[in-house]
Amino acid sequence: MSVSLFSRFKKQAAVLGFTTLLAAGSVHAADISGAGSSFVYPILSKWSASYNAKTGERVNYQSIGSGGGIAQIKAATVTFGASDMPLRPEELEKAGLAQFPVVIGGVVPVVNLPGVKAGEIRFTGPVIANIYLGKITKWNDPAITSLNPKVRLPDQKITVVHRSDGSGTTFNWANYLSKVSPEWKTKVGEGTSVQWPSGIGGKGNEGVAAYVNQIKGSLGYVELAYALQNKMTFTKVKNKSGHFVDPSLETFQAGAASADWTEQPDFYEVITDAPGKTSWPITASVFVLMYKQPKDAARSAEALKFFKWALEEGQSDAQSLDYVALPTRLVEQIEAYWAKEIR
């Protein structure tokens, strides 16, 4: 008898074909899809689930990175894109896109120094910049010890940890360092990934967190949720008004509230180094990008309904995941912007 390979595959083909047929049978109503920033992935999937439970609508958001989100909305393969980095109004104009913030977070320096507790170390922006520039290399450098007279700092090399992947986190971090250090601005600059003068790169927040946890004497930066969830040793940073503040939802909120959102068109505003006594200096917001005149207007309108619900009623979801909801005043501005810009 001949058991040829092909007849075996035919059988498999029949089985799989059947599965596919089943698949085609259960077509859902058109879903809203979005993609982009990995930073908002947890909160957007939480909002989506809550909204789904309430309305039955399905908003599918996937984290592919902010750059990916921008590219995908420009290619119109998704209904909305999300980015940690705002696009310039000219660029929005060219692509026919509208832009608005949806949620606030922040970037936090974390250290691995045995015996040092969270919030004990105090940094200033310029000192962090000099460490990342490779100019301060030891923990007992006078520039650090003078800020921390009460902490005993070891004679140990500082291992700088940064993101290896391009990321919105890096953008906000580098943006802050550019604002506080002229040397950083000219030598390195800001971007989703930069040419790091020193250090090692971890993939994702998780990679940076893992490296900082493993390497003694290291300094890295992660988003607040990672610092809190992994119980990492975060530090205080001196803000624009000269106060040392701890990273927390309150200081993030203060940072976001003190920013002036009305001045720039399309909410083009990077809110690092915000003024205000209790403002966290490296506060960041995430932006959603949508077409002003979408091809699929119905789907776009559904997406706006979702964001309206999220901005107005999604605060508790946000807080439970260590994100800061937008201030009410800003939400009103955004809704006015929608009415004006998006059809």
Binding site: L5, F9, A23, S26, V27, H28, S33, P42, Y61, T77
Partner: protein, 282 residues
């Protein structure tokens, strides 16, 4: 003189045997270590709800049902697309174009295709399908995966057919059997074990591929079996959950990793058992 020579031969032989045994232990050592990591992290998170519930938002209970189903659909479809094409192409290389320039070129090209980073395959299919269709879809994911399966199947089919002794071909052809029947009924049977191994290796490889799916199938928080929509899949879910800050998502990621690994193990064992039985029957 001869005794010293013999002694040296014996010692060399013993040395080789010991080294070979050590090499095997070395290989198994990593397997055990990695499996142990997967088991010790994945087993505590393994619950029945993993197979009955959808991927959850942070803070809620859930499972990976939609991701498992999506992965099975897309991987199955990929194997289905690539295997017949791959076997045919491998057959051409081994039986029709063994020493021709075209054959050599295609074989060479296939070797390169084997080592193209999967993210590049993802990009290619993104340009080919996603951009053309205007949205992400499961079918694009399946096509991307099939590009990874294809060269593996071509390669193994080619290799395995070449290893079939030419005496088998000659005797069949001498009996007046047409070539295509010789190939189907004699050569495929003789080399089936190897070809199936190749398909399984390829299947194992795509079961954990994240990069080609990220830009093609995307992923889906919800249940779908519609091939025209973004579809959930295990590797992307594992990746996204593993990179998140939340403990319960980490647990799900490890549980998913554990299940995928066990599935591959099971698949390997089952195919092996099937092959053994076949051999006895023949």
């Amino acid at each position: 003189m001869t005794t010293t020579l013999n002694l040296r031969r014996q010692i060399t032989d013993y040395g080789a045997r010991i080294m070979a045994t050590l090499a095997t232990l070395f290989g198994l050592f990593w397997l055990v270590w990695i499996l142990w990591t997967t088991v010790s992290n994945g087993l505590p998170a393994l619950k029945w709800s993993l197979f009955t519930q959808m991927t959850p938002p942070p803070g809620a209970d859930g499972g990976l049902l939609n991701a498992f189903v999506g992965s099975i659909i897309m991987s199955g479809l990929a194997v289905l697309i690539a295997t017949p094409i791959g076997i045919a192409a491998g057959t051409y290389l081994a039986e029709y174009a063994r020493n021709t320039r075209l054959g050599e070129t295609i074989r060479f090209v296939n070797d390169i295709l084997l080592s193209v980073p999967s993210i590049i395959i993802g990009l290619f299919v993104y340009e080919l399908m996603v951009r053309q269709m205007g949205h992400f879809s499961a079918i694009a994911g399946a096509v991307a995966l099939s590009f990874i399966v294809l060269p593996v199947v071509v390669r193994t089919t080619d290799e395995m057919l070449q290893l079939v002794p030419s005496s088998m071909r000659e005797s069949a052809l001498a009996l007046g059997v047409p070539q295509w029947k010789v190939i189907r009924q004699v050569l495929y049977r003789a080399s089936m074990a190897g070809i199936v191994t190749g398909v399984l290796l390829a299947f194992a490889r795509i079961s954990g591929e994240t990069a080609p799916l990220l830009f093609t199938a995307l992923n889906n928080q919800y249940w779908t079996t519609n091939l025209g929509e973004p579809m959930a899949n295990v590797p992307v879910v594992i990746f996204q959950y593993a990179m998140s800050p939340y403990e319960f998502w980490h647990a799900l990621a490890w549980a998913g990793a554990f299940v995928v690994t066990m599935l591959v193990l099971l698949l390997g064992l089952v195919s092996r058992a099937l092959l053994l039985r076949k051999k006895v029957n023949v």
